[in-house]
């Protein structure tokens, strides 16, 4: 990271751990519950959010001095919505299969409160380069949690990872299933995502007591 100053490094690295948007700021929980039943969906959502948040932060930062403060939320929404529509259309034209798999997730990006949160809290007050780093950093921090949750939900819920049957075949009773292991279908439902996120928050705050609020 020789290219980045210490301050810039902090912008990228802090959201990954001690200022994580999901586990510390408790933003973006809704999509973390909705799409983490499979690891692949988590990864795809992460990439999409990195793109939209990184670029959106830059756009907002560039026009931050001319946005009328009364309608700034509407302006922010318009920027996210426009970016998301462009991503959606470009994917449909050049990577049709992928766009079909993403389907609903692309639209869900608009509802992600991390995006509006970063526009409001960071991009409106900082330059484009810093905003870009902040956007990418926060999207990565969001993605890390998504991928951890997706990993455990798919592994314990379906016995697969990225679609590969890593624990054996539940119907033919091979691998772990031969000795009586069963998939936990509850893992596929949204409440278990919340519990997994809760466990991550618990582990994180146990390791770093400074994060515990009174």
């Amino acid at each position: 990271m020789g290219l980045l100053s210490k301050k810039d490094q902090k912008l990228i690295l802090d959201p990954l751990a001690d200022d994580n948007p999901i586990t510390i700021q408790v933003l973006g929980i809704c999509s973390a519950l909705a799409i983490t039943a499979q690891l692949k969906a988590s990864i795809v959502m992460t990439v999409s959010v990195i793109f939209v948040l990184g670029l959106g932060n830059v756009v907002i930062s560039l026009i931050r001095n001319i946005i009328p403060s009364k309608i700034r939320i509407i302006v922010q929404l318009t920027v996210v919505a426009a970016l998301v529509i462009i991503v959606d259309q470009v994917l449909k034209a050049f990577s049709y299969q992928l766009s079909k798999e993403l389907g609903a997730f692309i639209g869900l990006i608009i509802t992600n409160c991390i995006i509006m949160g970063r526009f409001e809290a960071f991009a409106l007050g900082n330059g484009p380069w810093k905003s870009f780093l902040d956007g990418v950093g926060n999207a990565l921090g969001y993605g890390v949690i998504l991928i951890i949750v997706g990993f455990f939900r798919e592994l314990l819920g379906s016995g697969t990872l990225l679609g590969f049957k890593v624990l054996g075949d539940p119907i033919a009773k091979t691998g772990l299933y031969a000795i009586g292991y069963e998939n936990n279908g509850f893992m596929l439902l949204a409440p278990m995502a919340l519990i997994v996120v809760g466990i991550i928050i618990w582990v994180q705050r146990t390791r770093n007591k400074a994060l515990i609020e009174d």
Partner: protein, 250 residues
């Protein structure tokens, strides 16, 4: 923020300007990508139809289509006739029947207009396949399918797809383990009348060994998607039944 950006007139002008810029940008993107998107949709339809009649590049566990580049040629090779069925039994050939929008036809039928039913006749290894495109409702949004049948309405293959079913649950209707269950399944019951295929959670036949029970095994956690798929099969394929009655059975 300076005072300048707080005035009402500036706010209104900014809003108008923003709408114009964003609107123009999106309109430009949409219209310049439109032909490419339409082409992708056309290719996908051909791939789906071919998939249903078993012309695909499936490996052991995942569903793989004929590649985008080859599909046009392969489609011409396997699909011998494209029919448009009206009034239940009147079939007319139409080279572009595969471009018929099932959704539009459904809403036409709702408005009391005549519904055109596309049916694709394919030949593979000396066997004749009849592929019907159907459409219905899942939990969140549309579900649709291409079902290949023989002349006795026994399913020979099916491709299911959906717009926004839950990943890992309802979205699994497009996984092989679900779609392959339909192969060999009868749409008519023992007495020969149309019954459809129910998606059952309690049929005691999870490996789907009984092909004449008009049932396949459901996906856990996807009850409403499954019910939607079953309802779609029942109501939509029933429309094709009069035509299948006119085919010589053997």
């Amino acid at each position: 923020m300076s005072n300048k950006t707080d005035s009402n007139s500036y706010t209104i002008l900014f809003a108008i300007g923003m709408v114009l810029v964003v609107g123009a940008l999106l309109a430009f993107v949409a219209s310049s990508l439109r032909p490419k998107i339409d082409e992708n949709k056309r290719i996908e339809k051909q791939q789906n139809i071919l998939y249903a009649m078993g012309v695909n590049e499936n490996d052991e566990s995942s569903a793989v289509f004929i590649s985008d580049k080859e599909v046009g040629e392969v489609f011409g090779k396997y699909i011998t006739k494209q029919l448009v069925i009206t009034n239940g039994t009147e079939a007319k050939e139409d080279e572009e029947a595969y471009l018929i929008d099932v959704k539009k036809e459904q809403s036409n039928a709702k408005d009391g207009k005549e519904r055109r039913l596309p049916l694709f006749v394919g030949e593979k290894d000396g066997k004749t396949y009849y592929v019907a495109p159907i459409r219905g409702k899942g939990l969140w949004d549309a579900v649709w399918a291409y079902v290949a049948m023989d002349n006795n309405m026994v399913v020979q293959g099916a491709y299911f797809d959906h717009k926004g079913e839950t990943a890992g649950l309802g979205a699994n209707i497009k996984e092989r383990f679900f779609m392959d269950d339909f192969i060999g399944e009868h749409l008519r019951d023992a007495s020969g009348s149309f019954a459809g295929i129910a998606i059952s959670k309690s049929n005691g036949d999870p490996l789907n060994k009984d092909k004449t029970d008009n049932e396949v095994d459901a996906i856990a956690g996807a009850t409403i998607t499954g019910d939607g798929v079953a309802a779609m099969i029942k109501s939509e394929l029933k429309l094709y039944e009069p035509y299948f009655k006119t085919l010589k059975t053997n």
